[in-house]
């Protein structure tokens, strides 16, 4: 395509986009406008109907729970795709790099960094569990907590090195939790069918608003999503890490 043709193509596309965006933006509520009727309805209904204090969780895991189911499977297939694409190919080997200068003295990692890792990674695990289990009470939930849980592994890698980090990433466990979490969402949804109502209906006892165990299936779904996301992001991290650290072209 000539530069001139490309310019004409860009101008036409940009004009179409700006017209579409202009029409769309002109109908948006102005900045600081009162919240929509749907939002205020949910703010009044959710704490009473579902006994949760975080209405966002009630929307994602109950009223629009089916959307979150599809999102879980989007993440699941994305992680599967990355694991397939980043596998060692037939002309690549998977082993630790050879030390080509064994007499060279490598300075030991600073003990301060190790100590920071020792403090930070259990703390991240704790915060992750707190974020996952309190999804129905405070901002947060399975997705956010799951990524925080997986980031504890990244901290171990940063504080120590590849060999130590690998011991904390058993592939079977990570892949198992990814699949268990994605399937678990469907199983919790099937509870509704067992109870004689629609798929993903909140059929478990709702408990008291503000308690840790409240909101029926919402905390259950948060836990399975947390397991799936933690497994998925840990696989993601370890696949990219393997590519960087141990997967290399086979020597001729």
């Amino acid at each position: 395509m000539t530069p001139r043709g490309r310019l004409v193509f860009f101008i036409m596309a940009a004009a179409g986009l700006s017209v579409a965006l202009g029409i769309g933006f002109s109908e948006l509520p102005s900045f600081g406008a009162p919240i929509s009727a749907y939002a205020s309805l949910l703010n009044h209904l959710a704490p009473v109907q579902r006994r949760v204090t975080d209405v966002v969780s009630a929307v994602s895991f109950d009223y629009r729970g089916i959307d979150t189911l599809f999102e879980e499977f989007i993440l699941f297939s994305a992680v599967t795709g990355i694991a397939v694409v980043l596998r060692p190919l037939s002309d690549e080997v998977r082993d630790l790099p050879e030390d080509e200068a064994p007499e060279r003295k490598v300075p030991a990692p600073s003990p301060a960094v190790g100590l920071l890792g020792v403090i930070l990674s259990p703390l991240l695990v704790l915060i992750a569990i707190e974020t996952i289990t309190h999804g129905q009470l405070t901002p947060g939930g399975g997705f956010q907590g799951g990524v925080i849980l997986a980031s504890a592994l990244y901290v171990i890698y940063l504080a120590t090195g590849y060999s130590t980090a690998e011991r904390f990433q058993p592939t079977a466990l990570l892949e198992g939790s990814d699949g268990f979490g994605a399937g678990g969402y469907v199983v919790v949804g099937l509870l509704g069918l067992l109870g004689g109502v629609a798929f993903l209906t909140n059929v478990v006892g709702l408990g008291h608003s503000g308690n840790l165990i409240s909101g029926g299936t919402i905390p259950l779904l948060n836990v399975v999503v947390g397991i799936e996301v933690a497994g998925g992001f840990a696989i993601l991290g370890s696949e990219f890490l393997d590519q960087t650290a141990v997967i290399r072209p086979r020597r001729k």
């Binding site: 925080i148 990219f240 960087t244």
Partner: protein, 80 residues
């Protein structure tokens, strides 16, 4: 107070977003995109969207820069 926080966050988002586009070196860009993610999280928090802010922090400031950094480390390996 709240308007001031929103204003600061918006300026920060605009500045760091522009910086991500203008920086041409991918390594510096990875750091800049992390700061851009943090700026977006601050904006969401100042607009009282705590759930979205948490997701933005974990994805925009942890996962995305990490993947970009590891990819850069891979493609910069010396050919054997």
């Amino acid at each position: 107070m709240r308007e001031a926080m929103v204003a600061v966050a918006l300026v920060w988002v605009a500045a760091s977003g522009t910086a991500v586009v203008l920086i041409r070196d991918p390594l510096s860009q990875a750091f800049a995109v992390g700061f851009f993610g943090l700026a977006l999280a601050t904006l969401y928090l100042s607009l009282q969207a705590g759930d979205v802010a948490l997701s933005q922090i974990v994805v925009g400031a942890i996962a995305l820069p990490l993947i970009v950094l590891l990819t850069l480390a891979k493609v910069r390996e010396k050919p054997q």
